[in-house]
């Protein structure tokens, strides 16, 4: 399994956009492992920056990641804080957020949701 390893990375310097502005860091948990994210960015960006290539597996076990990146296609959905089917491309990271690879349509982890609330 090399699903965690990928050529993703942050673009620190850019001829047109300039240096990446300093943003507050926060921690999210991907598959239980802590991972640095930047305040205001969607889950998708934090995962790409960390080199995560597989966001979910379909019922038949086929891997998926993001496709449209703007909330239209739902290819990037994951289980977030126990709620499956969350579009990671348009959902902002939150301190302590738990992000899980979804299998098929996923399961509602009601307890996790209640804990969060």
């Amino acid at each position: 399994m090399n699903a965690e390893k990928s050529p993703g990375s942050r673009i620190a310097k850019h001829a047109v956009l300039g240096d990446m502005p300093v943003q507050k860091e926060l921690t999210i948990y991907f598959e239980g492992k802590p991972l640095k994210a930047l305040e205001g960015e969607p889950i998708m960006a934090a995962l790409v920056a960390a080199g995560v290539t597989v966001f979910r597996y379909t019922k038949k076990g086929s891997p998926r990641r993001m496709f449209c990146g703007i909330g239209r296609c739902t290819d990037c959905v994951m289980t977030v804080d126990g709620v499956p089917g969350v579009r990671t491309c348009v959902t902002e990271v939150r301190e302590g957020m738990r992000v899980e690879r979804q299998q098929g349509v996923g399961n509602w982890n009601i307890q996790a949701e209640a804990d969060h609330a």
Binding site: K13, H14, A15, V16, G18
Partner: protein, 170 residues
């Protein structure tokens, strides 16, 4: 009228296509202080080259899809139009003895430094020869489009258009 076969299949205009619309400068025109070269051979709605020129040396007129026409008697080769062109299609070329220079727009990191040896490329991105960076400017008004001047052997002057990107794996 040409159907711009080279431009529409290779991505870059051929010398013949540039010549057909009067956009291929001769080496005589490049002598001394140099001359402006605009490679804009398709009718697209765009005229910042005209509005950026303090001398009124570039005319697009109406409709704004006309191809730009340069009045060489008015052009002072100041280069203000180079970063103004959204298509990055303007250069200034000059020749003196066996050397040539090209001033061109550049929007990639890393920027080269003055004195660096670089690889000159042609319109198809093929490396032609070594060149030396003579100057690089990127004032506020350029809005992030740097303007670089490189020097190289004169025999490549019609083909050389830019430099190869370096250190791509950042």
């Amino acid at each position: 009228m040409s159907n711009n076969e080279a431009l529409k299949t290779t991505g870059a205009p051929s010398l013949e296509e540039l010549r057909a619309v009067g956009q291929l400068a001769s080496e005589e025109e490049m002598e001394g202080r140099g001359c402006l070269c605009i490679e804009c051979i398709e009718e697209i709605p765009c005229n910042p080259c005209q509005t950026s020129c303090p001398q009124g040396a570039i005319t697009v007129g109406f409709p704004i899809t006309n191809l730009p026409v340069i009045d060489r008697t008015k052009c002072t080769v100041c280069g203000l139009c180079i970063p103004a062109c959204p298509g990055l299609a303007i250069t200034i070329k000059s020749v003196k003895d066996d050397r040539a220079r090209v001033r061109f727009p550049w929007e990639y990191l890393p920027y080269p430094s003055v004195g660096d040896t670089v690889r000159m490329v042609d319109r198809l991105g093929r490396e032609l020869c070594d060149g030396k960076i003579v100057s690089i400017i990127n004032p506020e008004r350029n809005n992030k489009t740097a303007v670089i001047t490189a020097e190289f052997p004169r025999k490549f002057v019609q083909d050389a258009i830019s430099i190869a990107r370096r250190n791509i794996d950042v």
